[in-house]
């Protein structure tokens, strides 16, 4: 009995401490946002940096995937930036923030639902032995197809398909235009496809 009362007391103390800290943070964020609305860069930078630390565990807890959480957080930061004029400085900051965060998470799930359903994990995928789904003949064909690509196309194919970079990132790395990367990627795909068919 005494033990349970003691634990309840400790829990209550912890909760009140955390809500107090949370309340202080919220009121501080509200002030920072008020300054940001007036064009104060420093306050805005401080606010976004603090929000980043606050949002990371929250979003990660919802989506359970690190790379997804990063994408969502970036979307949230952009949304906060575009909607900053809608925040009423006389009201609490948290409902405004959480409305944006929860909707961005929902949007992300809606947008990528099909992609996630069809996605196959490559964690258990290996190129050697009987466990592999790719036969030796297919590998030979693939290597033969690669010889038909020029150096540029090989580099683009590798960066997009093996390193997993996006087209703008590849363009930046190879110092090419995005459309040139797209054209080369398309040609290399067609060439490889032709070898297989």
């Amino acid at each position: 009995m005494l033990y349970s009362r003691l634990t309840m007391g400790v829990c209550f103390y912890k909760v009140s401490l955390s809500t107090d800290r949370g309340y202080r943070a919220m009121s501080q964020w509200s002030q920072l946002m008020a300054k940001a609305q007036q064009g104060d860069n420093r306050s805005y930078s401080q606010l976004l940096t603090e929000l980043l630390q606050y949002l990371k565990p929250y979003v990660l807890g919802k989506v359970k995937r690190d790379e997804l959480a990063d994408d969502i957080i970036q979307n949230v930061l952009l949304s906060i930036h575009n909607a900053r004029h809608t925040f009423n400085t006389e009201k609490d900051f948290k409902p405004w923030l959480m409305a944006i965060v929860n909707n961005r998470i929902l949007d992300y799930w809606r947008k990528h639902k099909r992609k996630f359903e069809k996605e196959v994990s490559i964690d258990n995928f290996s190129l050697d032995g009987a466990a592999s789904d790719i036969t030796n003949i297919e590998l030979e064909l693939f290597e033969k197809a690669l010889t038909h690509l020029n150096e540029n196309q090989k580099a683009i194919f590798k960066l997009i398909n093996i390193d997993g970079l996006s087209i703008p990132e590849v363009a930046k790395q190879l110092q090419m235009t995005e459309s040139a990367v797209r054209v080369n990627a398309h040609r290399s795909f067609k060439r490889i496809q032709k070898e297989f068919l």
């Binding site: 940001a36 609305q37 007036q38 064009g39 104060d40 860069n41 805005y44 930078s45 976004l48 940096t49 980043l52 630390q53 990063d70 957080i73 970036q74 979307n75 930061l77 952009l78 949304s79 930036h81 575009n82 909607a83 900053r84 004029h85 809608t86 925040f87 009423n88 009201k91 609490d92 409902p95 405004w96 923030l97 959480m98 409305a99 944006i100 909707n103 961005r104």
Partner: protein, 222 residues
């Protein structure tokens, strides 16, 4: 803190400008309501007169059923516009989003129990399909309100764009229907169900599709 996030924060803070303040609307909604009600009735009257030579039906305004329907349509206009504006502002508590739908159901109920012209259920097919004229007038009369509300919402941050679009266009369409009902020569129940009330939902659904296309506040602004 990972680098992309840091870069993003730096880029967002770089050329930060003071943000425009949201309009503090205390009684301005009343001004807009009067303007758009007058504009809707005027447009419905002009288009009804010029397209199909329909005139204002003054005797109808003494009918209690008609008046209660008009009042409910006016309330649908007000509540759905309010709900749309609230949904377009993050953090605003929006507990009344079911109110416009309940009001529509109330109109439906009044129509079902009304004795007003209810004896003409079986109408001629050609006459029935002629009801598209009502839809055209509703559309014309609702255009100013739809455009104005869409513009106002584009200045906010609609989190659920399809829902905001739904209520925006429901509001505008209810104003259009309200204006139409002063001029429509047939107040037959079947025509009312199909060509006066159903287009409200049709236009609202169109709005929910359009909302996702037109409001781009969450995209990166270059």
């Amino acid at each position: 803190m990972s680098d992309p996030n840091k870069e993003l924060i730096e880029s967002l803070c770089k050329n930060l400008q003071p943000s425009p303040k949201l309009e503090n609307c205390n009684l301005c909604w009343l001004k807009y309501t009067v303007i758009f009600l007058a504009l809707g009735i005027f447009l419905a009257g002009v288009s009804a007169q010029y397209l199909w030579s329909w005139e204002f039906k003054s005797d109808r305004v003494y009918n209690p059923n008609f008046l209660s329907e008009q009042l409910l349509l006016f309330l649908v206009f007000l509540t759905s516009a309010g709900v749309a504006i609230k949904f377009a502002t993050p953090g605003k508590r929006n507990r009344y989003y079911l109110l416009p739908i309940l009001l529509l159901l109330a109109i439906w109920t009044i129509l079902s129990f009304t004795t007003f012209d209810s004896f003409i259920i079986n109408i001629e097919t050609a006459h029935f399909f002629g009801g598209y004229q009502c839809f055209i007038i509703t559309f014309i009369a609702s255009l100013p309100a739809a455009l104005f509300l869409s513009y106002k919402i584009s200045k906010r941050a609609a989190l659920n764009k399809s829902l905001v679009g739904f209520f925006t266009f429901l509001s505008a369409a209810s104003l259009g229907t309200l204006s139409l009902q002063f001029f429509c020569p047939d107040i037959n129940i079947m025509i009312k169900f199909v060509w006066h009330i159903a287009p409200l939902l049709l236009l609202a659904l169109f709005g929910s599709w359009l909302g996702k296309k037109i409001w781009r506040w969450d995209q990166i602004k270059k």
